[in-house]
């Protein structure tokens, strides 16, 4: 079991807050890596919120390949941040030579594009870059999306933070939304792509647990969308399904829960919307999940969500103050970053709920 956490704040926060949320929870295989997705960025990226931001870890050759591709496809570089690492000896980190965070302007012909076309362009660009880097074994591209930054690394999260100066709170990286996780995959190979959170077209997701319907999900999802690739971790299936239900089918978010953990037949039969629920169960039976797990996600409109498996076998708690909400596997992490909150207001979501935190930090509980 791994621990996951996320923070949504009215005041921009730095990654050290996410680390302080995660570190008290670490146990077992934890502390073997650090990965985070930051959304709604301030600091050095605040001037480019509507321009796609590329998050990349690569070799020199990889950087060159990416540059060539982006030039050839008329993306214009606007701003760039390459962290200068603290290479002090003894740090537990398997660092890549370069970490590049770069804002681009859309190609000129993108002006006439619809929102959906632009989204497809960004996805296709990321997939193309991933392919190029994979073939050359020259690096990893995690996200290419406006106002989204992804960092993933293997090692001890404390040392990774030291390496990237995240403890300094220097104001470079600040965001109103951070999703984080502190370990590497233990079920499959250790690949940077396998580390949560995952990102796809504005959707961010990380999960605590396992998905025993991994193979069934994977085989079906492969046929649904070109963006559903990789599958380095069984938790990617949760993201693909979220994207499919909410982005592709354009169904209201509540139906995500009905797809991944459908109600028992007897309960469906007693509901007014039984026709719809039965049809969903029939058509998307292969997207049902199984096993113990908890999911934390962020939607393109920055709303943050959490939900659990149908038996609520993995813990999750939501803590809140007036200007910050944190979702976390264990309450000790939340106690660390918001010790003065009213603990009686903490939420422990149940197996039939989706908890949604909107941009005013209002917490809604939707019953399945």
């Amino acid at each position: 079991m791994c621990r996951i956490g996320s923070i949504k704040s009215k005041v921009p926060i730095q990654p050290s807050t996410a680390l302080r949320l995660m570190l008290p929870q670490q146990e077992g295989h934890d502390n073997s890596g650090f990965a985070m997705v930051m959304q709604d960025l301030y600091g050095i990226f605040s001037g480019y919120k509507d321009k796609p931001l590329l998050s990349l870890a690569c070799t020199q050759r990889g950087a060159q390949l990416v540059e060539e591709y982006m030039d050839a496809h008329n993306f214009v570089q606007l701003a760039e941040w390459i962290p200068i690492p603290d290479k002090q000896p003894g740090l537990d980190i398997q660092a890549m030579p370069y970490y590049i965070f770069r804002n681009y302007d859309y190609p000129e012909d993108a002006e006439k594009m619809t929102k959906a076309q632009k989204e497809d362009l960004l996805l296709d660009t990321r997939l193309a870059l991933r392919k190029i880097l994979e073939e050359a074994n020259a690096g990893f591209v995690y996200s290419f999306w406006p106002d989204v930054l992804t960092l993933k690394e293997i090692g001890d999260p404390r040392d990774i933070a030291t390496y990237f100066h995240l403890w300094d709170d220097n104001g470079c990286l600040v965001a109103k939304s951070i999703v984080a996780q502190c370990r590497q995959n233990t079920n499959y190979d250790i690949v940077r792509y396998a580390a949560h959170p995952f990102f796809l077209q504005g959707y961010t997701l990380c999960a605590n647990g396992e998905n025993t319907f991994y193979t069934k999900n994977k085989e079906f999802q492969k046929s649904l969308h070109r963006g559903y690739i990789g599958f380095e971790s069984d938790s990617q299936c949760f993201l693909n399904t979220l994207h499919y239900v909410h982005h592709e089918l354009k169904w209201p978010l509540t139906y995500y829960k009905h797809v991944i953990t459908p109600l028992p037949f007897e309960e469906i039969a007693e509901r007014e919307d039984k026709e719809v629920l039965t049809a969903i169960r029939q058509s998307l039976a292969n997207l049902e999940i199984n096993g113990p797990n908890t999911i934390i996600g962020v939607l393109p409109d920055q709303r943050m969500i959490t939900c659990c498996d149908s038996k609520k076998l993995r813990p999750v708690v939501v803590g809140r103050t007036d200007d910050m909400v944190a979702i976390s596997s264990e309450v000790c992490g939340i106690n660390e970053i918001m010790p003065d909150r009213d603990q009686t207001k903490d939420l422990y979501p149940n197996e039939r709920e989706i908890v949604v935190i909107d941009n005013d930090l209002e917490v809604q509980r939707w019953k399945q």
């Binding site: 719809v276 058509s283 998307l284």
Partner: protein, 284 residues
């Protein structure tokens, strides 16, 4: 002493065992002479006996070598239970007894590997006896746990639309179905091979129809039965039982016109239509 191997054939592996009473035996040799299978033989057995014949204990050891009748432990010269030894013995000293624990069929493999089906019920070996039933939770890695995982073996039967084809509209943040979708039943995906109902006698298909009705209505099992390709009697087509039947139509078109003609008189829809486009082996 002879070496013994764990896989050696023992008397208890054989279908019949000889019950022999040495104290009644007169050593006449008739049983051994009469056994046409060479399943028994005369052997000398060493015995060690302690006796005391005085009124005070006065133990005396006797080491004696005594001829006895012994069963042969062989997969070729084994006792068939013909009973000839028992009939011929003047003193009721020997008889053959059926051994319920026999492993002869497994050991001798004289009928090849254990097989299913076939055209005879004469061999005593039955397939169901050879099936090992275990817990699914012990057969997967990682092991599955019913408390942690959801199991439901029902499956949709019918034309399932892809999610994008579903006629849904969003009203007040809820999905609403705007058109009909093809009917789908959730069934246990348990399939018995189709046996031609058209080839059965009236009593036989009546029994089968009642059985499938019983499973549904009394036992609550959503079982459906395929008609096979031989068509169906008109009486069955026009009955309530039709809802539990899947009408099969195959290249032979047997009984197909009867189905068409019965359609206006059907009181219920069949559970499904199965169009068979190919077949493997066909007996006969």
């Amino acid at each position: 002493m002879e070496a013994v191997k764990t896989q050696d054939v023992g008397i208890n592996d054989l279908p019949w065992k000889i019950e022999y009473h040495a104290e009644r035996c007169t050593m006449c040799g008739s049983c051994v002479a009469s056994c046409s299978f060479k399943a028994i033989k005369v052997e000398v057995q060493a015995q060690s006996i302690t006796t005391s014949e005085d009124s005070q204990p006065n133990p005396v050891h006797h080491h004696i070598a005594r001829p006895i009748i012994k069963q042969v432990d062989s997969l070729t010269d084994f006792c068939r239970g013909c009973g000839m030894c028992e009939k011929i013995c003047p003193n009721n000293a020997i008889r053959a007894v059926r051994n319920p624990d026999t492993r002869k069929t497994l050991l001798s493999k004289d009928n090849g590997p254990i097989k299913r089906g076939g055209r005879t019920n004469l061999n005593a070996q039955r397939t169901l006896d050879s099936i090992v039933v275990g817990r699914i939770s012990q057969m997967t890695d990682p092991s599955l746990d019913a408390a942690r995982h959801t199991f439901d073996i029902r499956a949709p039967f019918g034309r399932v639309l892809s999610a994008k084809e579903l006629p849904f509209e969003i009203q007040d943040g809820k999905l609403v179905q705007s058109k009909h979708t093809p009917p789908v039943d959730w069934i246990y995906p348990l399939i018995f091979s189709d046996m031609s109902i058209g080839a059965l006698s009236t009593r036989a298909w009546e029994a089968v129809a009642m059985a499938v009705g019983y499973l549904n209505e009394k036992c609550g099992l959503p079982v459906r039965m395929s008609s096979g390709e031989g068509g169906m009697p008109v009486k069955l087509l026009e009955s309530e039982y039709l809802k539990y039947f899947i009408i099969q139509i195959a290249s032979g078109h047997f009984g197909w016109n009867r189905i068409i003609k019965a359609m206006p008189h059907m009181v219920t829809d069949p559970a499904g239509i199965l169009i068979k486009i190919g077949q493997g082996a066909k007996p006969g």
